[in-house]
Symmetry: C2
């Protein structure tokens, strides 16, 4: 039997499905040349989408706030996401959906006249930190040279590709011997890192930044699971001092789940091992990927 | 004779030249998915590149600051830009060069391991405001709802595609009946607009924001030409009040040159017509496109 050409991933562009390595967008799409775009990422785990409805709702809010008007309905987009996964045959996938302002087809520079475009792709599940790395935990630093783009410049609750600050911070993390970075805002409050939210377990409460961050679906899942476990949660503001003092620290992302942080700014967190609350939430997070309330199965073609 | 397939524009991608409508980049290029990219735009006017060396120098500084390492030399890039223009046969062109962080070819998420990519294209000259519009001048507003991304988040002197703030401001301008927008910083100082710097002629001096902006080549050309004309120039900080009070206002961009602003925040600038200093600089700007010191001719193929 011929190998599946979509085995490394499958993308949807302009009504057609492509193997991921051949999937291309116009170089003059303003989703690229102005980063005028919003996106979302949903996971498929063991053949089931996780919290797909929540991701689609956030995605729709995002393009509405950007005053975009894609030509496809949410239902059609949803069907395309399933089709990308089905064609790839991936059981564990990172599924990205994008609405771009698109192209200036009549030569106008007026973004109100552009045809907004929908793109999507499924690729193998992405790990910010691989499971074996998660067992020992990662080293996170708070950037000293870069702040997060403020919400009154670019709204972080509309998921976006404005990662210049996050990439610069990542290089600072490498320079300081760390694995990844979290950026402060102009007042020194912790915000978020490249593709993740951050949590501390501090003074008996699970705390995460309230504002200036993406309202992550994995962040929401952590909050939901913590409440079920009777762990007090709080959305608030805190600085690098709290990250350094906290008994436990972890990050949350659709790309890797609940990831223990065992070193902050070159200092051990607690006893330097992933903490108990972190381990409990992490265990519940993966169990939840098989619970009916949050999952929707993909019906794969028979091979 | 067959029509030139590159007549609408010619792009260079991965060693090949494409008609602009077929020019595509990988959807998973982090130049798109993280806007991890720098670019520059140079004009060709009447068959001559304008200040190409200055654009290439700025471009090179940009990717160095982003710690990118494209596989081509500046000389090779320069040759590709000429070839894009030659193939398009355009006498007046907007020529864009891009270095992107590129693709995670081995599945790593570590940007230090990505193969950085060079893209380029030439398309017909782009006008932020068409010449006939420039004769009457445009209506500019200072955004009230959006600030410019600050320099300690994303460095504006490294020309970038982080336009979320600029696009949001553009929609605010439309809502307020204006043509385009300029964004303030967090302290209310004027910065820049979508693709342009801003100048005022105020109290006998030509003033433009010193910091928090792209150091535009057209901005530099305006400063050079003003000095030659004996007009005092000053790089400093000023707010919306100065824009509203100024005797003359104009914007500068490779995409349109020196563009008179005759209305600011719904109020006429001066007598509501393009001013004398503006007209002088604008005239000199276009004359300079035929002066040897700043131009380099394209040798077009014989047809």
């Amino acid at each position: 039997m011929a190998e599946n050409p979509f085995a490394d991933g499958c993308a949807y562009i302009d009504g057609e499905y492509f193997p991921i390595a051949e999937a291309r967008i116009p170089i003059i799409d303003t989703g690229f040349t102005r980063s005028d775009v919003t996106y979302d990422v949903v996971a498929v785990w063991n053949g089931k989408f996780f919290r797909l409805k929540d991701h689609l709702n956030r995605f729709e809010r995002g393009w509405n706030r950007l005053r975009m008007n894609p030509e496809l309905s949410i239902k059609e987009m949803r069907e395309i996401l399933f089709e990308c996964v089905r064609r790839s045959a991936l059981r564990n996938a990172f599924v990205e959906m994008i609405v771009s302002r698109g192209i200036d087809e009549d030569g106008s520079r007026d973004p109100r006249r552009f045809r907004n475009r929908f793109y999507a792709y499924a690729i193998p599940y992405v790990w910010i930190a691989k499971p074996e790395k998660q067992e020992v935990g990662i080293h996170l630093v708070v950037a000293q040279k870069t702040i997060r783009i403020p919400a009154n410049a670019v709204d972080p609750t509309v998921k976006n590709f404005h990662w210049g600050d996050l990439v610069k911070g990542t290089y600072e993390a490498f320079d300081r011997g760390a694995y990844t970075v979290v950026l402060p805002d102009a007042d020194g409050n912790i915000t978020e890192g490249p593709g993740f939210n951050v949590f501390v377990y501090h003074q008996g409460r699970l705390r995460t930044p309230a504002t200036g961050v993406l309202e992550g679906i994995t962040r929401q899942t952590v909050l939901d699971l913590a409440e079920e476990q009777g762990i007090p949660v709080e959305l608030d503001r805190f600085g690098a001092d709290v990250l350094e003092e906290a008994k436990e620290v972890f990050i949350s992302s659709t790309a890797g789940g609940v990831i223990p942080v065992t070193t902050v700014n070159n200092k051990s967190v607690g006893d330097g091992k992933p903490g108990k609350i972190t381990a409990l939430i992490r265990k519940r997070y993966w169990e939840a990927h098989d619970e009916d309330r949050w999952t929707f199965p993909v019906i794969y073609p028979k091979i």
